[in-house]
Assembly symmetry: C2
Homo-oligomer: 479 residues x 2
């Protein structure tokens, strides 16, 4: 029982070992736990609460652009996966197979979905008949399984949660437009909701999704300078449509293949939020994804009026739509400060006898640890404004931190220094050659991240191989 009576944080300092810091934070805040099968995770309520908020934000945005939710079977005939050559090559090493069910071995093995293009293509091919049925836009919130060798909770696990959207269109332009539109929704989610700045752009040929015509991504920089691919959208062209025979009768009465997209973000975003904002004290959650936005701590709780006033405040803030928690446990104030700071609650309100006398609450922002008072009168508005400031403050801090670690490079030596020594991203001109990219990765572990939509001309030769360069690329080491 001692564990309840004193607060002991065992978080490894960020500077000492970022990777252990991350694991300590996510386990000790009870966001996640390891599952019994190697490589799996249990998303505990505090972590799942973040996911629910992400879902709510994204789901509303999807619906606003005409996407409808649906649910497709998880078990995919192995033969489906094999139809698209690049697709099977990309996913085969990671698949999990159901071979036995209902008391007998199955005639055809079933793949536990690593992604659902093949399943959804099969259904699209049954559903679409004429141009009137297009575009068709569906999304599903579900689990997927990719059997990874090296795993870490949220970032890479054998099973994870995500959403996968799939659209089909009459024209190539329609598909391209949606691939970009969904990426913009992801960017908005990352930056405006998760307060995590990202670069949006196109992946190289080697790094694109297995079976795609082109893949777009958003890339965030974690505090150790590593890149997190935080969401991708794919223009699948007609690759899958031809394999799965998704044809429609055009306005001209011709049978045509559809043009297609798919796009997804996953619970990996939670890991991104942790590694973007956390500090020595633990988590720091942006208010928009914080399951608890405000914690109210009664000081000298048993003094007359304190707890009553704290309860009133809780009630008022809840009615104002704020996710608030009153901590009336029998623990010392110091213990509670530490715990809620570790858990990253954006704003702490303390209310004690002196605060009551002065008609105020003492507030502490999680991002700056700045302490100030707020009058009880009109507190709702002040709290909402403060939460906005915390949201913006976290974004600005992350943005500054990231921008300081973007280094323009013109040769390999500079690139290695930028990525390995200064721990950031290298920004340089690139030739576009897959062989150059492969060699770079093999030699240094550095990978191409994406070619930003906002291109700049920094020179004429590739910063790695020296051959003529045609585009600007971000380089980094990836999670």
């Amino acid at each position: 029982m001692a564990k309840k009576e004193q607060f002991v944080s065992h978080i490894t300092p960020r500077s000492e070992d970022f990777s252990r810091w991350y694991t300590d934070v996510i386990l000790q805040t009870q966001m996640v736990d390891y599952g019994p099968v190697k490589g799996t995770m249990v998303i505990r309520p505090y972590g799942y609460g973040v996911w629910e908020l992400i879902q709510k934000e994204l789901d509303a945005r999807f619906k606003s652009v005409g996407v409808e939710n649906a649910y497709f079977p998880m078990l995919i005939p192995e033969s489906f996966l094999q139809r698209e050559a690049e697709h099977v090559e990309g996913f085969a090493p990671e698949v999990a197979l159901v071979t036995y069910a209902g008391g007998e071995n199955l005639a055809e093995r079933l793949v536990v979905r690593p992604t659902s293009e093949t399943m959804i293509c099969e259904m699209f091919s049954r559903w679409v008949q004429s141009w009137r049925d297009l575009p068709m836009k569906v999304n599903q919130w579900c689990n997927v399984v990719r059997w990874e060798k090296s795993t870490r909770p949220f970032l890479r696990t054998s099973e994870f949660l995500w959403q996968e959207g799939h659209t089909i269109h009459e024209t190539a332009e329609g598909a391209e437009e949606d691939a970009l539109k969904m990426l913009e929704i992801y960017r908005e989610l990352a930056e405006d909701v998760c307060a995590m700045p990202v670069f949006v752009g196109q992946k190289s040929e080697s790094e694109k999704f297995a079976g795609a015509q082109s893949t777009y991504s958003m890339e965030a920089m974690m505090q150790d300078g590593k890149a997190l691919q935080a969401g991708t959208t794919h223009n699948l062209g007609q690759h899958f449509a031809k394999v799965f025979n998704i044809q429609y009768l055009s306005k001209d009465g011709q049978l045509e293949y559809v043009h297609q997209t798919s796009w997804g973000v996953s619970t990996r975003l939670i890991g991104g939020i942790v590694m973007t904002h956390g500090d020595e004290r633990g988590l720091a959650l942006p208010p928009k994804v914080a399951p608890i936005q405000v914690v109210i701590l009664p000081i000298a709780m048993h003094k007359e009026g304190v707890l009553e006033e704290a309860r009133k405040l809780e009630d008022r803030l809840r009615k104002a739509g704020i996710r608030v928690k009153l901590d009336d446990r029998e623990q010392s104030a110091g213990w509670k400060f530490n715990e809620w700071e570790m858990k990253g609650v954006p704003l702490r309100l303390e209310i004690g006898p002196r605060d009551l006398e002065n008609g105020q609450a003492t507030a502490v922002r999680r991002d700056t640890l700045e302490k100030f008072t707020l009058p009880l009168e009109g507190l709702e508005k002040a709290v909402l404004e403060t939460l906005d400031k915390v949201q913006q403050g976290l974004y600005d801090r992350a943005r500054t931190r990231r921008d300081e670690r973007i280094f323009t490079v013109t040769n390999l030596e500079e690139m290695v220094e930028a990525v390995d020594v200064k721990q950031g991203f290298a920004k340089g001109m690139w030739c576009g050659d897959a062989a150059c990219e492969a060699e770079l990765k093999a030699k240094t572990g550095i990978t191409t991240r994406n070619m930003p939509f906002e291109q700049e001309h920094l020179g004429d030769v590739c910063c790695h191989c020296g051959k003529p360069a045609t585009r600007l690329m971000y380089f980094g080491k990836q999670y």
Copy 2:
């Protein structure tokens, strides 16, 4: 393209073949489709929309009683399932197994969860330490796999969606209380949201969940008189706690086993809604679970002002929080009437030149097909009131229909007549003997449904075997 130009419904009459009627309705309304693997289903947007509304209603109720959402891994070591003897016996015949993953055969086979008691028990045993940690209440929204031989979309499929809640408590009373509380939430969902009357009560020993101490259920009667078990809650006692060693340090400093519950409802509810309210024209959806509550049909759409006014109306209703759709497709009004009636939209509003002149809309309720006019001024309020009436109307109709088919019986002959001839439930005294129940089922296909909480004393002997009877039981044939 002809399919777009005339409306052809191919719904088998209910009276002719209820089972084919059901399949026709769910397929033609595009609620669902068959998946490529036998026994699986694709939940299409119109069906998934119903599920989303059910989720929203339930989720808010769960949270209001302190339940938090989480997510547990889907793949369970086979050895976990084997620990609780009754549990494995109940589920072993239906499990699907992953035997190969990441390029190799697995050392231990993994069960695709048919339910997650064993997985969650393992985690509870790690998380709970003292009485301070109790109660612990988690829920997950997820997919489960049960490999069934005979399947039907929504009612019984190899994979389905559900929620499963799991709670642990210090006392037996705490667990019992929650098992009943969650059943009450389910009853509220069924009756007040899905407009589907249910009997709540306790299942017999033979019919309870594999591993439970007692199981409670809600049982609904479909229009063919068959019973649908629409939701269950289980008091698991300490069965799983002892097997998974879920112990806590009590206030007295003793190590004690927790008392446990689990409870779930699934996408089966959607099938229940269809079979409770549908008619010869197709679906009839209760407004609270209707993805589209109101459809607006402009009549003589191209006459001046009609479409503009229809759009204004759509906008007004949407702002009032009503799920509304304007159907401005180039189809005849008759075609649209038929389609939206088939799709079960609770209220249709027609607006044509004459309606405009009179400052009104013509309204048609889906439940009664009653036609009336509503003034455009204050339409929002009138529509909301009408939707309430439709909700209540559907419930009342279903309730009357069900109540007329409950027959009190005192012997086997009467029971068979009640269930097989009159197609309803038999209500009679029962001895409580598993052998009597098994014999009844073998001979007649009739099963015990539940022992209602509102017991009545109808006599002293079992209506099947004639031995002394101790409780009132509902009997019927089940889906």
